[in-house]
């Protein structure tokens, strides 16, 4: 995986958070959402079948996170660091290109 473009920010956020509480718990350096991986509590994960996908982008539009990006050929790509497994994408997909499967380690 490529290194995060936010790496420097993340380190500063971690330092700032651990050392000093600001009034109102304001995160004074942006980027905290990059270190808080909200995909960690997922139970089901979307599994993608590229052959069935018609690139309608309903999943892309409806993902509440949004954890769906598009690749060079404009097919959806799922970011499992932030996908919370809500299943909205699978429900919206008109061709069943996305199915939700129980996640196992």
């Amino acid at each position: 995986m490529a290194e995060s473009p936010f790496k420097a920010d993340i380190e500063r956020v971690q330092k700032e958070y651990s050392e000093k509480m600001t009034p109102g718990a304001i995160a004074v350096i942006p980027g905290s959402s990059v270190i808080n991986k909200t995909g960690s509590w997922r139970v089901f994960m979307p599994e993608f079948n590229r052959d069935k996908c018609v690139r309608c982008y309903l999943c892309y539009i409806y993902c509440p996170e949004p954890a769906i990006y598009l690749d060079e050929e404009n097919y959806p790509v799922f970011d499992y660091d932030y996908c919370k497994g809500c299943g909205v994408c699978a429900n919206e997909c008109p061709t069943d290109a996305i199915i939700m499967v129980r996640e196992t380690k």
């Binding site: 509480m21 009034p23 109102g24 718990a25 304001i26 350096i29 942006p30 905290s32 959402s33 808080n36």
Partner: protein
């Protein structure tokens, strides 16, 4: 020159808001506070107040809009009462936790059910654990003054907490009294422009407000709200002193009246303090040694002042228009906390009265006095007493 106008407390609150020059006012009408946003919307429409007046569809939205505006870095104001304040409840915690110095004017009104639009203090008392500062006005002048003072304290860098100013439904909100409107220049000097140090939006300084805090940081964040409340004690005294110097009206966290040689001191808040002062004058004529202590500041709870007060009396008779079920009144809890470890302490007798706009008459106060006098003579009395209760219909 300050001008004197005859007005209701609701108008006084609107005038206070006008003088404080908030940039955003968001409000939803609710009895008995409706006139506050109405009057402010007039000021805005007439170009007398340069502010954004946001009409919202509920109090939850009103306070949310204030949180957003305050987080963006401007002075904000709203007004509400009763169920409206209760509807704001969850956002009140957020405003305090985010350390946003919003000011709310509250026309203290009873909570449902049954539906009741008249006065008691259950609405603001129920919000005592949100972190907000709380002031209570005895009359319309105090409603105006305390809102200005509330801004001064709330915006202090050592405090940065929201504040609510309560004034009794109908008894004050809809009753006219002469009110002195201070000079705008003096108010400007007193308050200054609000210059947020932490909570503001600036594209050149991106920050995240209203953050998520994991267990590793939540307690510390809550502690800073605690600390800010502690700091507010001194800041309030300073604000009162400065206000007196500028405007000539003196405020104290606990205002005492004829307490110096009192054996029984009635403790109360809001407009009831005025009634009880009259009552005490009346008793003094009969040689009965009684006094009154009025709580102008309820949060932060003035523990030191309560301890000093307790040294003066043999009995503290708390007169409260609120109930903390199975305990008594909120003041009863707070006074108990302040005095529990004192080596010498007076008897504390709690009286619940005047709920839902029930008039508090001298006859009711006689009833309370008789119980307080029994306690003074060492006789056993109930800790909590409902005064003026119509037992015949129970």
């Amino acid at each position: 020159m300050p001008i004197r106008k005859v007005m209701k407390a609701n108008e006084a609150a609107a005038w206070a808001a006008k003088l404080a020059k908030p940039k955003v006012i968001a409000a939803f009408p609710i009895t008995p506070s409706t006139l506050v946003p109405e009057k402010i919307s007039e000021f805005v429409a007439d170009g007398e107040l340069d502010a954004e007046f946001i009409k919202v569809e509920s109090e939850h939205s009103a306070i949310s809009a204030c949180v957003g505006a305050s987080a963006a870095g401007v002075r904000t104001f709203t007004a509400t009462a009763s169920q409206g304040l209760a509807l704001m409840h969850e956002i009140l915690f957020i405003a305090a936790g985010m350390r946003l110095p919003i000011v709310i004017a509250v026309g203290n009104r009873a909570l449902s059910a049954p539906i009741n639009i008249w006065n008691d203090w259950q609405d603001t008392i129920s919000e005592r654990d949100t972190g907000w500062l709380q002031f209570y006005a005895e009359n319309n002048q105090e409603a105006l003054d305390l809102i200005l003072i509330a801004y001064k304290v709330a915006e202090n860098e050592k405090v940065l907490l929201p504040a609510m100013v309560g004034f009794d439904a109908f008894i004050l909100t809809h009753t006219v009294e002469p009110v002195e409107i201070p000079d705008q220049e003096l108010v400007d000097e007193f308050l200054g422009e609000y210059e947020p140090k932490y909570a503001y939006l600036d594209p050149a300084r991106p920050v995240t407000q209203g953050t998520l805090a994991f267990p590793a940081h939540y307690m510390e964040a809550r502690y800073t709200v605690w600390e800010a409340n502690e700091n507010a004690r001194k800041v309030i005294d300073e604000a009162f002193a400065e206000f007196e110097k500028k405007f000539g009206r003196k405020y104290q966290k606990i205002e005492e009246y004829r307490t110096d040689d009192a054996e029984i001191i009635f403790v109360t808040m809001g407009s009831l303090a005025g009634t009880v002062k009259e009552y005490v004058d009346h008793l003094r004529e009969q040689g009965i040694k009684v006094g009154v202590a009025k709580m102008t500041v309820y949060r932060p709870f003035p523990i030191e002042e309560v301890r000093a007060l307790a040294k003066k009396a043999k009995v503290l008779a708390l007169l409260e228009k609120n109930v903390t079920f199975s305990v008594g009144g909120a003041l009863f809890q707070d006074f108990s906390r302040a005095l529990i470890n004192e080596s010498e302490k007076p008897k504390i007798v709690d009286f619940i009265l005047g709920l839902g706009g029930r008039d508090v008459t001298f006859k009711d106060l006689d009833e309370a006095l008789a119980i307080a006098q029994k306690a003074l003579n060492g006789e056993a009395v109930d800790e909590v007493n409902w005064i003026g209760l119509r037992k015949e219909i129970l």
